[in-house]
């Protein structure tokens, strides 16, 4: 029997549209939730986006959301923004009573006793949590092949990676497994998979979204952000996530001076030459130029520019992020939760065996690197120098933003690569972050927006980067690209993905 078009459509429209239908009661939250759950059941065996699906509990939450919607419709208090909308969360977001494993053997069986602030805010918006999403182990990776459970496949081509580390979040948003998803970005972990999977992904200004409850990778870089099927959704979800949280000392309220630009007229767009070299896939470069034309057509001025200190980005990023990771991941010691080795004869052997067994190769590599760069005798040369480079990088951006309101660049040098293609070479993998880590080090917002497809039908994402708290400018520019690129409404063919995965 052919499935009706209705439920499938619910999985394709954006979250704001679905929220509208739910408020008008044209569809119930239970129907919408069931539509997503069915789709997950049917296709996620191939995609591998979910680590945990809350089938029964999500339906119960949907019933409860429906009662709120019904009450609102009969004159009760207004339902919150995303009431009854099914969503899914990256597995490094602490969820009370729901497994939170960071796709690591180390956290198998860990049930957090509390919700992350971002999760609390999503729940307060009425959203129904469908489950937890696959990722690179502890968010370390650019292809999602570092998940200890299973890799995620790109819904557009199941032989390819979805990007990482929020690969599950991007694939789920692209495949219509949730109305929107949350991911986390440390050096590009939202933007890169958003680009590979053809969805919108925002890494907010550092401090604008609380990190409380996000299992830390690199504390001075980590930010939680949305992955959505439209720019409007990204803006709306960011709105509900953002704002100071008393549980995160580094969180802030967006300053009152933050821009509220709607259009791109008069916007000064800079296009860093450093990311238009031959190392970048020609179709990606062409897409950057095409987007510049679209922006110009709506009144922006686009010029090429020089972005200083780009050569320092990757080394500074890997030193700083690994140093912080080595400390953040030290708490996984097998004492109170997570994996503990079966046999040991001393506290030291319990630590080393539990950690050797619990962590995957990439995580170990970063812990070792981070431990090394903080060690006596090397600290100043590595960690100290990286901090200086970071200040230099920040200053570089400040200089560029005196003449430009926003920077337009590729997200990655190329579109989604094949599973296994780069997994043997960590350095090649690290270079996937070459365009994205700058914004992370500088703590400024950057957004990935779908802007076209390459010859193989793979999505091309473009990155917009602005000064701190300029998210509204990014949304305006991204809105222009979204309107012009005509990617809205294009969906991956999951049946083809299933077939190609079988063939692979």
């Amino acid at each position: 029997m052919n499935r009706s078009e209705g439920p499938e459509d619910l999985c394709r429209i954006d979250a704001l549209a679905l929220a509208g239908l739910l408020k008008l009661r044209e569809v119930s939250s239970v129907e919408a939730t069931r539509a997503f759950l069915d789709r997950i059941a049917r296709y996620d065996g191939t995609v591998g986006a979910f680590l945990h699906v809350r089938t029964e509990d999500a339906l119960k939450d949907a019933e409860s959301a429906q009662r709120t919607l019904d009450a609102a419709a009969s004159g009760g208090p207004e339902a919150p923004a995303f009431c009854g909308v099914p969503v899914a969360l990256k597995d490094n977001l602490s969820t009370k009573g729901i497994p939170t494993t960071c796709a690591s053997k180390m956290l198998e069986g860990y049930l957090p006793p509390y919700d992350a602030t971002a999760v609390e805010r999503v729940k307060a918006s009425g959203a129904v949590v469908l489950g937890k999403l696959n990722m690179d182990e502890f968010a370390m990776g650019s292809s999602n092949e570092n998940s200890s459970v299973k890799p995620v496949r790109n819904p557009w081509d199941a032989t390819r990676v979805p990007g990482g580390s929020s690969g599950g979040s991007a694939a789920a948003a692209a495949a219509g497994f949730a109305a929107f998803t949350l991911g986390s970005d440390t050096g590009g972990s939202i933007r890169l998979p958003a680009a590979f999977c053809g969805v919108v992904g925002l890494k907010p200004t550092y401090g604008s979204v609380s990190r409380y409850g996000l299992v830390a990778f690199a504390s001075s870089l980590d930010q939680i952000g949305p992955l959505t099927r439209s720019v409007a959704d990204a803006e709306s979800v960011f709105g509900l996530l953002a704002g100071r949280d008393p549980h995160d000392a580094t969180s802030v309220d967006r300053p009152a001076t933050a821009s509220a630009t709607r259009g791109v007229k008069g916007l000064r767009v800079g296009i860093p030459r450093e990311f238009l070299t031959d190392a970048v896939q020609p179709e990606v470069r062409d897409t950057v130029r095409r987007a510049a034309a679209w922006l110009s057509a709506e009144g922006a001025t686009c010029v090429e520019c020089a972005l200083p200190a780009v050569d320092y980005w990757i080394p500074a990023y890997y030193v700083v992020s690994s140093a912080e990771a080595s400390s953040n991941l030290a708490r996984f010691d097998g004492v109170r939760y997570g994996h503990r080795a079966g046999t040991y004869d001393s506290i030291a052997s319990m630590y080393s065996r539990s950690r050797s067994e619990g962590f995957g190769a990439e995580v170990k590599r970063r812990i070792l690197l981070g431990t090394f760069v903080l060690s006596a005798g090397y600290h100043d040369a590595y960690y100290g120098s990286a901090q200086k480079a970071r200040a230099h990088i920040r200053a570089g951006f400040e200089g560029v933003f005196r003449d430009h309101d926003v920077l337009l660049s590729p997200v990655a040098p190329q579109t989604a690569f094949r599973l296994g293609e780069k997994s043997g070479d960590p350095l090649q993998m690290y270079l996937q972050d070459i365009c994205t880590v700058g914004a992370s080090l500088a703590g400024i917002p950057a957004l990935s927006v779908p802007a076209g497809f390459d010859g193989e039908g793979l999505p091309i994402g473009l990155q917009l980067t602005g000064p701190a708290f300029s998210e509204n400018v990014l949304f305006a520019a991204a809105g222009c690209i979204e309107r012009s690129a005509g990617c809205l409404g294009r969906f991956p063919d999951l049946d083809r993905a299933v077939a190609s995965a079988k063939g692979a």
Binding site: Y114, R211, S219, T250, A323, R336, L374
Partner: protein, 482 residues
């Protein structure tokens, strides 16, 4: 060869803020294991610290009391190490930029006063506790103490004997107690010290190789450990051996230390600035406000008591032992009574009773003002000293207002002539033999009759008035005439 001891202390004191340093959990000693904690202080994945600003206030107070500079901007840092009592596997402390820098504490020693320099005071978090075989066999972890705020007071190696070391630690304890930032209960571990000891030939200025003993939690242990370690090092040098820089474990029961196989010294803590917390800013206005809140410190108070009030040094010492006792004495004085009477009632009467009952001034059901009113009643001869002692005993049991207690206990002094003469007449009538003895010149008999008259007055007569009246009654009653 004769050697001198060179010793420096790192004193850890838990701050008595209402809540812990990073979370809202109650900051209290003990409790059922793992009940006073939350995701933050147990370092669950994703939990973040948020600084309790009261901790900053307390640390600044301690810094000012020890004459430190207060850093306008200080930075928390991670000290990374694995141990099961530290669930994050790093301690949040301060490293390159501590909160208080360069102070001193003046210490009395048998060699006279000495000024011991303070290198720095920084804030950090306490760890949990390991319970060995407390519940069946094996080691369990109690995380209740995790996140209890600490200050670490790092002293210069200025101490030259175990006595100085002990006195210095006592002086620090006294200051922290007086400014009310710590409970300083050594037996509960809320104050403890790491002791660094080296020796060098007398006259030598370079430092010898030092060893460290951690977590000593009594003055006696500190004093004994310093002496034992100096002796051990001396024996090594005498035997032509070298002192090895190491951490040693002090066993107070056996009175000796043993090496911990140098493991501790191989530690590389890989400090780096804590990215989850912002730098701590303290403005000059903050410093001025906190400085204005500082009470008179014990040493200054003692000097004033001896110099200005003329109190004997030994009494001044007793009166300034604790915040509660010193505060009480000030309240007694505030009732306008004489210094001598106030000292006598505090030191002899009150402290004497506290000593015999093992109670402390801090948990009495009455205050210094009450005791001051009682002393005033004695001074005004409205209550005689014996009655006043009974009233004090009652105050210590139940508290109350001394004047009203005197009334209700029927202890207001008998001082009117009629009352006294009735008492005397009764005494003389019932003790004819003694009266006769008095008449025949026995001085002892006067004392006996005085006692009987006081008894007849129900113990309430003012002794001076009664004595005068009795003498008049006896001598005025005639010359040998019965």
């Amino acid at each position: 060869m004769s050697y001198e001891i060179v010793c420096g202390l790192e004193i850890h004191a838990e701050l008595s803020t209402a809540t812990k340093i990073w979370c809202g959990c109650e900051n209290a000693f003990g409790g059922e294991p793992n009940t006073r904690c939350c995701p933050v202080c147990t370092g669950l994945p994703g939990a973040l610290p948020v600084l309790n600003r009261r901790v900053v206030e307390f640390a600044v107070k301690a810094g000012l009391a020890m004459h430190c500079e207060i850093a306008p901007r200080s930075v928390m840092a991670r000290k990374n190490y694995f141990y099961p009592d530290m669930p994050k596997a790093y301690q949040i402390s301060q490293f390159e930029k501590p909160m208080c820098i360069g102070g001193y504490v003046d210490v009395e020693t048998s060699q006279g006063p000495r000024r011991i320099r303070i290198t720095r005071i920084h804030i950090e978090e306490d760890a949990g506790k390991l319970l060995h075989d407390a519940y069946g066999t094996g080691t369990l972890v109690d995380l209740n103490r995790c996140g209890v705020p600490l200050i670490e007071i790092v002293g210069e190696p200025d101490l030259r004997s175990s006595e100085e070391t002990k006195n210095y630690m006592e002086a620090v304890r006294e200051i922290l107690e007086a400014i009310a930032v710590s409970d300083v209960k050594m037996q509960e571990g809320s104050m403890r010290a790491d002791v660094n000891v080296s020796i060098r030939p007398v006259g030598e200025t370079a430092l010898g190789t030092r060893t460290e003993m951690k977590n000593l939690n009594s003055f006696r242990a500190v004093q004994r450990a310093v002496d034992a370690e100096a002796k051990r090092q001396e024996a090594l040098l005498a035997a032509g051996k070298k002192v090895v820089q190491e951490t040693r474990q002090w066993d107070d029961n056996r009175g000796e230390s043993r090496g911990m196989r140098g493991k501790e010294d191989a530690q590389d803590y890989r400090y780096f600035p804590e990215p989850d917390l912002l730098p701590i800013l303290v403005t000059p206005e903050d410093v001025a406000r906190i400085a204005a809140e500082l009470p008179e410190l014990p040493a200054a108070r003692r000097a004033r008591y001896v110099g200005t009030l003329g109190i004997a040094p030994a009494d001044a010492e007793l009166l300034t032992r604790s915040r509660a006792e010193a505060g009480m004495f000030e309240d007694v004085l505030a009732q306008g009574v004489g210094v001598r009477a106030a000292v006598t009632w505090m030191v002899v009467e009150l402290f004497g009773r506290l000593n015999t009952t093992g109670r402390s001034a801090a948990d009495l059901p009455f205050g210094g003002a009450d005791l001051g009113r009682l002393v005033a009643l004695v001074e005004a001869a409205k209550v005689n000293p014996g009655s006043a002692r009974r009233i004090l005993a009652e105050l210590m049991e139940k508290g109350g207002e001394p004047g009203r207690l005197a009334e209700s206990m029927g202890l207001m002094a008998v001082s009117d002539a009629g009352g006294l003469s009735v008492a005397i007449a009764t005494a003389l009538a019932q003790n004819a033999t003694a009266l006769a003895d008095y008449r025949s010149g026995s001085a002892k008999a006067f004392g006996f009759l005085m006692g009987q008259a006081m008894k007849a007055a129900g113990g309430r007569a003012d002794p001076k008035l009664l004595s005068a009246a009795l003498r008049e009654a006896l001598d005025g009653a005639g010359n040998g005439e019965a």
